[in-house]
């Protein structure tokens, strides 16, 4: 709790902070690219050309945006409530497993029934998984930073067990569910690409989250609780309820991300459903200043980075892991922004000292 408040308190207030952090991260990234002997301009051009320069590239970027944005929205709501839920990864897996199980069991149902049933079960499963951490926190004061990250491992292994056992496709050799029928798949929006309707779910979720935070009394209370629990309590607010909402909203949205990966991309539940979307989404939520539309924008940026990375490696010879470095730098610059005036101070003092030295020697 304390650690998360310290991090949130250091978050810069406005959009400017996020933009500055991204620019600074790209600048350092450019220096690293130059250090391997490649022109940063060439490398970045290759990266963005691949991610945004073609219909297919853009579609891939948007496909990647969906899980990052949904998890990021959930994490942002949790952060707003003062809940440092880093369990989106596990909640995504649990949600994906629920969606896959329902999708397979409900094969034959019409799409209009099956898809909502899959989405709803994914959200309930994700929320329930997040709810474990909520109970641990509210009843036993267990720090959610620890419990949610631990529950990630439990979730991933539990889902793995299910895929090797009860949920396994009886006609296949791999640990995965049977393929979903076309009624259990999210429709493709753009022919010839993988762009699926999940991106629409993202937009609706962002609008709802925005309305919730800024127009609903529950959202107001959630924000107050996140900013100052004691003042919320003093004002007669139900702090535990707001905290619980933060946990459940995060779990539900991460579960929904699992659903959209299963129904929109993989078309079945698989063991390696996510390459860490739930973790990257933490940075996405922070970079988006925990505001819903900001989160969607940040998710798009990170998706573009990830999609462009492989092309940059093959075209410009810069290792694709550079994008991971840039993601990390974004976080450092976001959190470290307070240090900039301090560094200025230190430089000024150094200048003074040198000047004094100069006078003395003269």
């Amino acid at each position: 709790m304390g650690s998360m408040n310290a991090i949130l308190a250091r978050l810069p207030a406005g959009l400017a902070g996020s933009v500055a952090a991204v620019l600074a991260a790209f600048l350092v990234g450019a220096a690293l690219i130059a250090a391997v002997g490649v022109s940063p301009v060439t490398a970045y051009a290759a990266l963005f050309e691949a991610a945004l320069g073609s219909a297919n590239g853009l579609a891939e970027t948007l496909v990647r945006t969906v899980p990052l944005a949904l998890c990021g929205l959930g994490i942002a709501l949790a952060f707003r409530a003062g809940v440092f839920n880093v369990g989106a990864e596990g909640q995504l897996f649990v949600g994906g497993a629920a969606a896959g199980a329902i999708g397979v069991a409900g094969a034959g149902l019409p799409s209009i029934v099956l898809l909502p049933a899959m989405a709803l079960s994914a959200m309930i499963a994700g929320a329930a998984w997040s709810g474990i951490a909520a109970v641990l926190k509210l009843r036993f004061r267990a720090d959610e930073l620890i419990t949610t990250i631990m529950l990630n491992y439990v979730a991933i292994h539990l889902v793995s067990f299910l895929l090797h056992g009860p949920l396994k496709d009886p006609n296949g050799a791999l640990a995965q569910t049977a393929r979903l029928t076309s009624d259990g798949r999210l429709p493709v929006l753009l022919g010839g690409t993988r762009l699926h309707a999940g991106i629409l779910i993202v937009l609706v979720a962002a609008i709802l989250a925005h309305l919730f935070l800024w127009r609903r009394t529950e959202g107001f209370r959630l924000r107050v609780v996140g900013l100052n629990q004691r003042a919320a309590l003093n004002a007669g607010m139900n702090v535990r309820r707001a905290v619980l909402i933060g946990f459940l909203a995060c779990g539900a949205l991460a579960g929904l991300a699992g659903f959209s990966e299963v129904a929109g991309v993989q078309r079945r539940m698989i063991e390696n459903l996510s390459p860490g979307y739930g973790y990257t989404a933490i940075i996405v939520a922070l970079l988006g200043q925990t505001s819903p539309f900001g989160v969607v924008a940040a998710a798009f940026l990170f998706a573009a980075l990830q999609i462009g990375a492989t092309t940059m490696e093959s075209a410009a010879g810069v290792p694709s892991t550079l994008t991971t470095v840039i993601q990390g730098l974004v976080v450092l610059f976001l959190i470290g922004r307070d240090a900039i005036p301090l560094i200025g101070d230190a430089l000024a003092r150094l200048g003074d000292a040198l000047a004094r030295l100069g006078r003395k020697s003269a």
Binding site: F220, R221, R223, A235, G236
Partner: protein
């Protein structure tokens, strides 16, 4: 032959934080053996000036001379080397360590790895007896009284060779009797040649103790004068820049002739607390069987030295702290286990002691802070949808009625001055027309003008028939406003006095836990 330079001379000190000038062309001279008051309202620049002296801030202009030599005070170490010692308002002591260990902490001269505590203890005993400070070097800090801990802080400074001793609001935590004890110590130190800078906003103490007074106002020196040549009234005018008198209950009665202070005796009980027990995390009973009642149309002052359970008692009444035993009733309804929301619905208004963490959500706008307690009720919201216009209307009303000065209702509460912040808290709580007001240190950190405003608001609620429980460690505040005074000591109510029977002497004894 010229006169010897004063021990301390600060000239033309200027400190600016961005566009805000905290000290502007400030001069301060203190001679050896002199007790010099630094007087001023909150925000007048007293602390800033002393932080310059302690080496914590480097001024942008001005010089500090010690014994006539210009010194480049840049660090606390430098300040210590020059014999400048500071006793902070909040003590810098490790409670689990002994006096000797605390005094030696961070001093390489007592041995870097294995401090020679025996030798240090001897030196401490020697110093203590020389300055008639009652201190046992082997006592644990946790076992000492507040006054005892303060003596340790003074000794710590002397042990480090302080010739200039700065005390920041040292009497805030003391009973009247303990304050007298402190004054004796300070006079003796001065007689032995120590220069003492006494920071305070309490005029009577400054008049009683000091020889010279420097009054700061808005970062500048308003006046430097000899104590003998001035009086409290003139000092107040210098501090504020205008004549301000704090309202009292007598003014209120003069305005309402039928109010003889007795008519309230039979009034309806608004708050009834009986046998209340609250423990802290360590299981220590902070409130230990306290009972009290507040009737409609009266102000009950709860006096006591800081840390005697008054905060915990108030927190239990407003619902921020669980009661282990006992009963709390508001307007006849048992609320011992009720939610804060229920208590608010019964007419409770809370003016918390801690403005920054309990009363306000500082990153939020003024309008949101004003709406905080009522966001769930119409007209501010319907079916869970917030009516932003209604919120703006309420904010405008409260800001006008309580004279909250800001760039607009959208300004964040954290950027306001303490006075304006407290007006938000008052406005939010009192505009609900509450029947019970629990005000804890409502004027803490406010200037005289803002204090007068707060006091008038409390008197207005009393006149409107509300019961007011005023919890304060400032005796002046309690004395000015209370119909009745209760004294809390170690979590119990140890005394009660009607307004006409009040004597400061008796109050002081009760606050020290001595039967009177």
């Amino acid at each position: 032959m010229t006169e010897a330079p004063p021990l301390l001379s600060m000239r033309g000190i200027r400190v600016a934080f961005g566009p805000v000038v905290a000290n502007d062309d400030v001069d301060l001279q203190v001679a050896a053996g002199e007790i010099h008051a630094l007087l001023g309202e909150n925000g007048a620049g007293k602390s800033t000036l002393m932080r310059v002296l302690a080496g914590l801030i480097v001024p942008v202009a001005g010089e500090v001379r010690i014994d006539g030599a210009v010194e480049p005070l840049g660090s606390p170490h430098e300040a210590m080397r020059l014999g400048i010692g500071m006793v902070h308002q909040h003590f810098m002591l490790v409670p689990t360590l002994t006096v000797a260990e605390n005094v030696c902490l961070g001093l390489p001269s007592t041995g870097r790895f294995l401090p020679d505590l025996k030798a240090a203890g001897r030196r401490i005993r020697d110093l203590a007896s020389r300055h008639s400070l009652e201190i046992d070097p082997d006592a644990r800090i946790a076992d000492l009284s507040v006054a005892g801990r303060q003596r340790v802080e003074i000794l710590k400074a002397l042990f480090r060779g302080a010739r200039i001793l700065i005390l920041d609001e040292p009497t805030a935590v003391l009973t009247p009797q303990e304050t007298e004890g402190l004054f004796r110590i300070l006079r003796a130190l001065a007689a032995a040649g120590t220069a003492i800078i006494f920071i305070s906003h309490k005029l009577n103490e400054v008049m009683a103790l000091t020889e010279t007074i420097t009054v700061l106002r808005q970062g500048r020196v308003a006046a430097t004068l000899r104590t003998a040549d001035t009086d409290a009234r003139a000092l107040a005018r210098l501090m504020v820049g205008a004549d301000v008198r704090l309202p009292t209950l007598e003014d209120e009665r003069a305005a309402a002739p039928h109010d003889d202070g007795k008519s309230n005796a039979a009034a309806r009980t608004i708050l009834a607390v009986s046998g209340l027990v609250c423990r802290d995390a360590d299981g220590v009973a902070r409130v230990d069987g306290a009972s009290l009642e507040v009737g409609a149309g009266e102000i009950v002052g709860l006096a006591g030295v800081d840390g005697n359970g008054q905060q915990e008692l108030a927190e239990a009444i407003v619902g921020l702290r669980a009661a282990e035993a006992g009963r709390i009733a508001i307007s006849g309804e048992d609320v011992t286990r009720a939610s804060v929301a229920r208590r608010i619905a019964l007419g409770l208004a809370h003016i918390p002691e801690d403005r920054h963490h309990t009363a306000l959500v500082e990153p939020l706008a003024i309008r949101d802070n004003i709406a905080l307690e009522r966001i769930g009720e119409p007209p501010l919201s319907r079916r869970g949808w917030i009516d932003r216009k209604a919120v703006a209307r309420l904010a405008a009303e409260v800001m006008a009625a309580f004279d909250i000065r800001a760039s607009g209702p959208g300004q964040t509460a954290g950027t306001l001055s303490g006075g304006n912040q407290q007006k938000i808290v008052l406005g939010r709580a009192l505009s609900r027309d509450p029947s019970l007001v629990v005000a804890v240190q409502p004027a803490r950190g406010l200037d005289v003008g803002a204090t007068a405003f707060v006091h008038r608001q409390l008197l207005a609620r009393r006149a409107a028939g509300a019961g007011v429980l005023l919890v304060s460690t400032e005796l002046d505040e309690i004395l000015a406003l209370s119909d009745r005074i209760l004294v809390v000591y170690k979590g119990r109510i140890v005394g009660a006095m009607a307004r006409r029977d009040i004597s400061v002497e008796r109050l002081g004894l009760m606050m020290a836990g001595k039967a009177a």
